[in-house]
Symmetry: C2
Subunit: 712 residues, 2 copies
């Protein structure tokens, strides 16, 4: 039917579970998928069987010898761990022309191959008496989860986890083969893979060659093994076929990968709280903090490098908050969510049987959102106070000293023997990013804010600690005095000091006169209370949210996919541009000429080899027929999120035509709601990847391993 061909005008929202794809045959075919949907849902067949997680990123097997393709930005850590003294592989790029030249991506590098899903809802959440307290409910679920995971992992070589779907309506035990010898094969220079860097981040038109190659190795016995020169390439059960034809505007595409987290099942009250309270407040304080760090970097060049990382995090966070709020406004997210929940409420109340089950759930969920409202400002201020590196270190060290009193198995997760070495390393490493001047400015502002909180809703323990030593005065003066005291000679300001305190017992902390340490001790009642609160919340939500989702799905059967949870998902739709604003159109493809057009100071300084290859104008078989040149990146209306980075983009026959690597700024609120008109996924085109390998890297071996012949 011809009409079906225009369906691609509207995106098909959803990050689908593989098991759902069988029932999506009609929309898949309508969007242009040409293969069997049943095959698409099969973990033991290509393409899904070839799609793996790197932990935070996605990759896919593209040869029988364990070759993986993913994003450049997913292998930055691998490159840093692989480089030798004096090298900067992120900057220069890397290509191993033979397997001998491949380098280990580091001890922590992993490839996770999903092997099976098992429904464990009953085992996790079944048979919990209704009158079980929420804290205890949370403890019970945690305990059952640990047991399931432990049993699953017993045979070794696999990693297991219990994933919650639909906010705990279903629990699934996911088992993944864990490959531990991961090597770097090829990565373009940063100026190619990350062309445009922070300026282009989230933006279209984009010209990043965000691709790289890894290879998974396995022991000669066929079992996962740590790095060893004796290991052999892992022979994946499935691999993707690369399509050098690429993809055209309007054509079907899908992405398979491991999206991390979305918030699409939040209640209207929760969305409204984020839209009207949390995000605006974060935007305000975050903007202040960002400005503070930027002024500091300008005024004191010695501090600039120290605050680089927090500044970049804040910059991302503030950017994200600003655009999310903008998208909320544009799409009236709060109004839509309110109308939806209000319809649900009326539907629930229209039937006494339904009302008996769900009305109390809706009421309690609604009440719970505002439960801590009176303390919001206190928690916000304490959150910013807690961003002081020295204070958070003092609190963590004090906690360590107490957890060490318990047998290892009884300790809180993160405070067990196996965590010790990692934390000690962090205590040493943090020196590079510790700026006492940033600490001072941050604390002066937020301690003063804490001192100005309304009575009855104050940061009692913090205020008491400040009052105990300082003379009374304006909040600003008292905060300054307190910060002077904290920063007089902080024991934790050196690596030695921190490592020394890592050995101390609770009594030493409690007797200490050091500012940060005594403050950490003073804050213990506050921290304990928050921890209990959080466990109680988690238990309550584990009880309430599944019922809310259940009611919503009964009321609105079109809401058919769960929030992202780092499990394997498939999104599908078509290649298409968008209209970001009045009179402006974005075409869905960029070209190599756009790279030259953007050239200028960093981050728009492509390597000379790329620039001359573009100037030479030899496109071989890699040109797009419509554009008559090599395309670089393209847009689709697919529904993805963080974790999907590196995901293979597949055409109507399941062949590799690109890699997803970013979303657009207009779709930045997709974690809450997917705006089909504006939200777009940005992919690197496989033809740019192939042309680059062939014409610039001259990586003939790699091109051949992908099943193709170099033509340039």
């Amino acid at each position: 039917m011809l009409l079906a061909l225009v369906l691609h005008a509207a995106a098909i929202e959803g990050m689908w579970e593989p098991s759902q794809l069988l029932s999506l045959g009609q929309p898949l075919r309508a969007a242009g998928y040409l293969d069997d949907p049943a095959r698409l849902g099969d973990l033991r067949a290509a393409p899904l069987g070839a799609v793996v997680s790197l932990g935070g990123c996605t990759a896919s097997f593209v040869s029988d010898l364990g070759l993986l393709v993913t994003n450049h930005h997913c292998v930055v850590g691998h490159l840093q761990r692989a480089q030798k003294e004096g090298e900067d592989l992120v900057e220069t790029g890397f290509y191993a022309a033979s397997r001998q030249e491949e380098r280990s991506g580091g001890k922590g590098a992993r490839v996770y191959v999903t092997q099976s899903f098992e429904d464990v809802t009953e085992k996790v959440a079944g048979k919990i008496p209704a009158k079980t307290g929420d804290v205890q409910r949370k403890a019970l679920i945690d305990e059952r989860t640990k047991k399931l995971v432990g049993d699953c992992e017993k045979p070794g070589g696999v990693r297991c986890r219990v994933a919650s779907y639909y906010d705990g309506l279903r629990y699934t035990l996911v088992r993944q083969l864990e490959l531990r010898d991961v090597r770097v094969v090829m990565a373009p220079p940063d100026a190619v893979g990350n062309y445009g860097d922070e300026i282009d981040n989230w933006h279209w038109p984009r010209h990043a060659g965000d691709f790289a190659f890894l290879r998974a190795y396995i022991g000669r016995d066929g079992k996962p093994a740590d790095y060893s020169p004796d290991n052999v390439p892992y022979a994946p059960p499935q691999r993707l076929v690369v399509s050098p034809r690429g993809i055209e505007p309007g054509e079907f595409v899908m992405v398979a990968g491991y999206p991390g987290h979305t918030e699409r099942w939040r209640t209207a009250a929760e969305v409204a709280r984020d839209a009207t309270t949390h995000l605006p407040a974060y935007l305000e304080d975050g903007t202040w903090a960002l400005d503070m760090l930027e002024s500091l970097a300008r005024e004191m060049p010695s501090e600039a490098v120290k605050v680089n990382v927090p500044r970049s995090y804040l910059s991302n966070g503030v950017f994200n908050a600003r655009w999310t709020l903008e998208a909320f406004r544009r799409t009236n997210v709060v109004g839509v969510a309110n109308a939806r929940d209000e319809s649900l409420r009326r539907w629930v109340e229209a039937d006494p049987a339904r009302a008996a089950v769900y009305a109390p759930v809706l009421a309690e969920l609604s009440a719970r959102v505002s439960k801590h409202d009176a303390e919001l400002e206190r928690d916000r201020v304490m959150g910013w106070v807690g961003r002081s590196d020295l204070l958070s270190t003092a609190r963590t060290l004090y906690r360590w000293s107490r957890e060490r009193q318990k047998p290892d198995a009884k300790r809180e997760i993160g405070y067990q023997s196996r965590d010790e070495a990692r934390y000690a390393a962090r205590l040493a490493d943090m020196q590079a990013s510790l700026s006492l001047e940033a600490e001072r400015r941050l604390l002066e502002r937020f301690l003063a804010r804490a001192l100005s909180l309304p009575a009855g809703h104050g940061a009692t323990e913090l205020v008491a600690w400040i009052n105990a030593a300082g003379p009374a005065g304006s909040p600003e003066a008292m905060a300054r005095a307190a910060v002077d005291r904290l920063l007089a000679a902080p024991a934790l300001a050196t690596a030695e000091g921190r490592l020394d305190w890592f050995k101390q017992g609770p009594a030493a902390f409690e007797a200490s006169h050091d500012g940060f340490i005594s403050l950490a001790v003073a804050l213990r009642p506050y921290d304990d209370a928050r921890e209990l609160e959080s466990k109680e919340d988690a238990g309550a939500y584990a009880r309430l949210r599944p019922r809310y989702v259940e009611a919503m799905r009964l009321f609105d059967p079109t809401r058919v996919y769960p929030d992202a949870n780092s499990t394997l998902r498939v999104s599908f739709g078509t290649v298409q541009g968008y209209h970001p604003r009045d009179a402006v159109s974005y075409a869905p493809q960029t070209t190599v000429h756009g790279i030259v057009e953007k050239m200028g100071p960093h981050p728009f300084d492509p390597p000379a080899a790329l620039v001359s290859a573009i100037a030479a104008g030899k496109w071989g078989s890699y040109a797009d027929p419509g554009l008559a040149t090599v395309p670089v990146d393209f847009l689709s209306d697919l529904d993805i999120t963080g974790g999907n980075s590196g995901s293979p983009t597949l055409d109507a026959k399941g062949r590799l035509v690109g890699l997803a690597f970013d979303g657009n700024v207009e779709g930045i609120a997709s974690d809450y709601v997917f705006d089909a008109q504006m939200a777009r996924t940005i992919h690197v085109d496989v033809r740019y990847l192939l042309w680059y390998l062939d014409a610039v890297t001259q990586a003939d071996g790699l091109v051949r391993e992908l099943g193709l012949e170099p033509t340039l």
Copy 2:
């Protein structure tokens, strides 16, 4: 012939003289013009007969009662002069529902109706002996010009000027009727007329309602007269017909108006000097000065308002320089100009007779460009030093004291009795924008630079003045000491002080110990030398440039239009968008919905009446059929420049469909070279104007005077 229809894909570069239009019948028809080209060139017929100059802006008669339409930004001065105590007509807008409510646009407001052109080339440049010195040649041309203008203006009521075409290859005496009673009829609020302000300036997509109405009055005796309540509306010989149908993408449009200045006949060497020396140097120093003023405004709120105007000028200048250089790079302006001049040189040298005439011209022009090269840095530094308000005032006052020694008629232009009152007013007014701290920072930098100039090419007089009083030291230290001395107690820092010095004779200046005054006296030899140099340059160019243009036109007969010179011109082409960069397309029309889309803090704060009218969605007959809503602004590929502001945009039958009001940033280098791919003119659509009058202002009387019926 069908092929002709696609001609609109390439812009037809040129700001044509009316007399040229007769010979442009073919390209005019090819572009879609439907009327008689002969009629189009006729000053005594519509449309050209209706197009007038406001001095710096263009306007056109749109009723038999002297009603004029122009840009909002062309009547800002009129509104300020028309407003009463406590009013802010720029902010609120203005509408006179009856003629009695119309207000005078001020004593200086003018409407110039072009009446005739007369070729006076022989009278201006003829019969000058070849051996006449350049300074004398300049004096002779000036004298002849003054005589022609004086004779022409003798009857009164007209303003005459001698305009130079093709760099003096032709001189034309232009006679214009000068109407002196100009009243404000209607202007939308600034937030409509100037929506987007500096942020949107030069940018597309644009949403400014940049239109306003004036009315010209005349004495009851039918002669131009100063404002008087007894005056009557001027009945223009011609008026434009308003087309409520508007215009569609791809259709023919033309603009008639008074473009001020272009540089398209500059030699390659001159273009190269601007591209590689002048503009980059200005960009560097201008960016420093802009940053300096911005820091100052941030650090000292009391200074912020004082430096507002220079900051805005600098901001525009720096913006302009940056984008001009960017466009130079994109279109390889220097390379193209070099190739053109090189071809010209070869053509000249290929024929001995031609070579005899033109080769010395090319050689001398080429040498002259670099004549002052050794002093470029000195002149640049002295230029920035001269931006000190107090120093430039001291120099001007000293010049006044000397000119006053001469009979009035013999004084330099600008220093005659009739200029006195205006200059006294400026001396008083300058207090509002005088920032001693800005003077300090500017002078400290550039005096230090002056002290560091290479020997033999230094600012001798300035350096001598600094050395005379200060102790030797580093340039920075000596500059600081000199500035301390200048700013110790400057006599010119108050209005009283300046006005007092305005009365003094040269001896008082020469005896003064005031810093700025004694520096002005010390700089007299420098100033006199520069003035002589500039007169000599002008005389030489008056001799050389016409021959260069003549040679170029013989060599390349396609170069058929003269540089803009504030005389009446016509440009034509079509409505079309453009591709500003890879994967981005700009549609040629914006809509009222784009106004809402852009809403935010100032300058994106449209008045509530406009917002509700858009929300109401009643478009009446003003909707564009393709867009199904009211269009706001549109783009064309027309070739215009500053001075064209307010120019009527006419359709294929010469009817008013919009007003030109800006160019786009990608075409900012159009003064040098017209980039047909990228340069666009921005117009306000007559349908937005009419809809606004009808739906928002409810100016029924005005709509009827335009020959239409209100429909909303």
